[in-house]
């Protein structure tokens, strides 16, 4: 066992897979010599050398194009897009090329690649360096989307993503890079498409993702003191989506609250809400409630950003109000 930060877990997950598989290569801006702008890849260049860990020019289309071309010809590349906001300059490669080419070629090609990216707000970086883009990725057929909420899951889901034969968008919540936890030694391998029930309660089911998971857990503690006992589910993987666990946990309590950092429209919670309404409507005891960032670009000022992103306090008040209505 060792105390590991979320950022150290990134490097450990990648290193674990690079040791076991020569075909895993890693490229991105400042990822090698500098160890990543968020220091998530420290030590990889030293251990694996410049042939496998490659610094690139500031060319997001070239980075992802190269990853795609390499993956269709036998490698398992991991590509880093420094900030998830930068997906906007290379979205063509992700959406039109990587996501569709297996289907369009009638299964002639596979694309075993992982695109890692720093996602989400909370760091006062302003509107172009703080977006939560999981909903962008989730709506594209052909992409798997993974968003871990703690260091242990980072390692296990990273390993699962690298070993997966499909393209995976692996979003690392920037606000969590410094979070720490005890992580066992040895190989860690998790599974895509499994949500985790982190807390069991009989009154309401709170479903959260990424940086919203620790907030949901804190809120659940406060709510419990006030007599509202919540189940907390960490979605972990938006595609594939573990609807079985979510439907089961929602049916058990009769209430669903989604906690989403993405702006309001078309967030993953809207899709969950639709699935639950269609498939567990008669188990519901009250309305499904989505707690999201409002539909605005994220402001930079700490006071404003804190108002925008769902907070523990907002979760507590929203759930309390709705449960008592």
């Amino acid at each position: 066992m060792a105390q590991l930060t979320f950022r150290e877990a990134i490097a450990r997950g990648i290193a674990q897979e690079m040791r076991r598989d020569e075909s895993v290569v890693f490229l991105g801006e400042d990822v090698g010599a500098a160890g990543g702008v968020f220091k998530g890849t420290v030590g990889l260049l030293e251990e694996f050398g410049g042939v496998r860990v490659r610094d690139t020019p500031i060319s997001e289309q070239a980075i992802l194009g190269a990853a795609m071309g390499a993956s269709m010809t036998g490698l398992r590349p991991i590509a880093e897009i420094m900030f998830a906001d930068f997906f906007a300059v290379c979205w063509d490669i992700v959406v039109n090329e990587i996501a569709k080419s297996r289907y369009m070629t009638n299964g002639q090609m596979t694309f075993p690649l992982v695109i890692r990216s720093g996602n989400g707000g909370g760091l006062r970086f302003g509107a172009q360096h703080s977006q939560s883009v999981e909903n962008w990725a989730m709506m594209i057929p052909g992409l798997k989307v993974v968003v871990p909420s703690n260091a242990l899951d980072v390692i296990g889901l990273m390993a699962a993503s690298i070993r997966d034969d499909d393209p995976v968008i692996f979003l690392e919540e920037k606000a969590l890079y410094s979070s720490k936890m005890e992580v066992p030694d040895g190989e860690i391998l998790d599974q895509l498409g499994l949500a985790k029930v982190l807390r069991q309660g009989g009154d309401a089911t709170v479903v959260a993702l990424g940086n919203m998971v620790p907030k949901a857990l804190l809120a659940a503690e406060e709510l419990a003191l006030a007599g509202i006992d919540c189940t907390v589910v960490d979605v972990r993987s938006l595609v594939p989506l573990d609807t079985a666990t979510i439907l089961r946990e929602v049916s058990a309590t009769g209430r669903l609250f989604t906690i989403e950092e993405n702006p309001r429209l078309c967030g993953w919670g809207a899709e969950l809400s639709s699935i639950v309404s269609e498939e567990a409507f008669y188990d519901l005891d009250g309305p499904i409630v989505r707690i999201t960032t409002p539909h605005i670009p994220l402001p930079a000022a700490d006071a404003l950003e804190d108002l925008a992103i769902p907070s523990v306090e907002r979760i507590v008040t929203t759930v309390t109000k709705s449960m008592n209505a």
Binding site: G74, R102, P112, G142
Partner: protein
């Protein structure tokens, strides 16, 4: 602009006849595709390569079977030139299950991994970085494979082109970029929107690539520069850019009669049609007219057979619809 000194391999007459046959096949295939469009067998859009056959034929002849082709939506020529049979290509255009991708890709996305045709891409510029990735993989794995990436003159002003050229040069990738400069984008002359005379070659030189201009309507000349650039890439000497000057005889796509082009320009280029030119050259080399006529007749018969086979293909159904989004063969996104 620089050129390498290594002499390309000399071609024997047999190989030249193959080049002739290949160009004739591409031409007749495209003419048939056009007819089938008029008969409503080919739906959607298609972009014919009539007039540009020498580039596809010359490059394909210079490639090893293990090398990779990356093409654009104007990719019928390149797919056939790599040895993909006509029937599955025609059937793909018609949306049949015996199509190259069972109808799931269509004219703009012809792919045959088995033949090294690593996709036809319909977003301008996108496949240049993808070709770099394949070249990187060859370099990393120490195979001697080369990626050859074809695109049009209109593609030189999009960002991906510039990112890819720099990327290929700094990583010294075994990739050959081929600009088929047919002077026109869709309806606009590339020279009207581009500041340099040779839109691909002039830029490539600035990025540190070996840069060559060739008469794209002369299949022997194309073969020579292709062989040289591919050998260079294979030897680890890095990427090249070949700008092949050519012309499309028809409009941009099937919906376009191409009326925006001056008649004299079209006539001038039709006079430089690569196929009659090569026909004349082969006669000069002593090939008997009957030999060439026989090739044309044989190809015509093969096109007829392919047409019948493609038309006989089944219409795809729901089983195919939901297949192969994922590597496990399925499309499910939830449990």
């Amino acid at each position: 602009m620089t050129t390498t000194k290594t002499a390309p391999p000399a071609m024997d007459l047999e190989a030249k006849l193959d080049l002739y046959r290949c160009q004739v096949e591409l031409r007749q295939f495209e003419e048939r595709a056009y007819d089938l469009f008029l008969e409503n067998y080919v739906k959607g859009t298609s972009h014919l390569g009539i007039g540009q056959e020498a580039i596809a034929a010359g490059f394909a002849a210079a490639m090893k079977p293990t090398d990779w082709t990356f093409a654009t939506y104007r990719g019928h020529n390149h797919t056939l030139a790599r040895g993909v049979p006509m029937t599955p290509v025609l059937a793909e255009l018609m949306g049949r299950t015996n199509g190259l991708m069972a109808g799931k890709g269509g004219s703009m996305h012809l792919t045959s991994v088995e033949h090294g045709v690593m996709g036809s891409y319909a977003i301008i510029g996108a496949h240049l970085p993808i070709a770099c990735g394949a070249a990187w993989s060859a370099q990393y794995r120490g195979t001697d494979q080369v990626a050859v990436c074809f695109f049009g003159d209109g593609s030189v002003n999009i960002g991906a082109f510039h990112e890819a050229l720099n990327f290929a040069a700094i990583w010294k990738l075994p990739v050959v970029f081929v600009c088929e400069n047919n002077l026109w984008m869709e309806y606009t002359r590339t020279s009207e929107v581009t500041a340099v005379e040779n839109p691909a070659a002039d830029r490539a030189a600035a990025y540190g690539l070996e840069s060559i201009i060739v008469d794209g309507n002369d299949v022997d000349a194309v073969f020579e520069v292709a062989a040289t650039a591919i050998a260079r890439a294979r030897a680890g000497e890095g990427p090249s850019m070949i700008e092949a000057k050519t012309y499309r005889h028809g409009g941009h796509s099937r919906a376009d009669p191409g009326k925006y082009r001056p008649d004299e320009e079209v006539a001038e280029w039709k006079a430089k049609d690569p196929i009659p030119r090569y026909h004349a050259r082969l006669l000069d080399l002593g090939v008997a007219e009957e030999v060439l006529v026989k090739i044309v007749t044989e190809v015509a018969a093969a096109v007829d057979v392919a047409t019948d086979e493609a038309k006989a293909g089944a219409i795809p159904g729901e089983d195919l619809l939901m297949k192969d989004v994922w590597a496990d063969g399925g499309s499910s996104w939830r449990n």
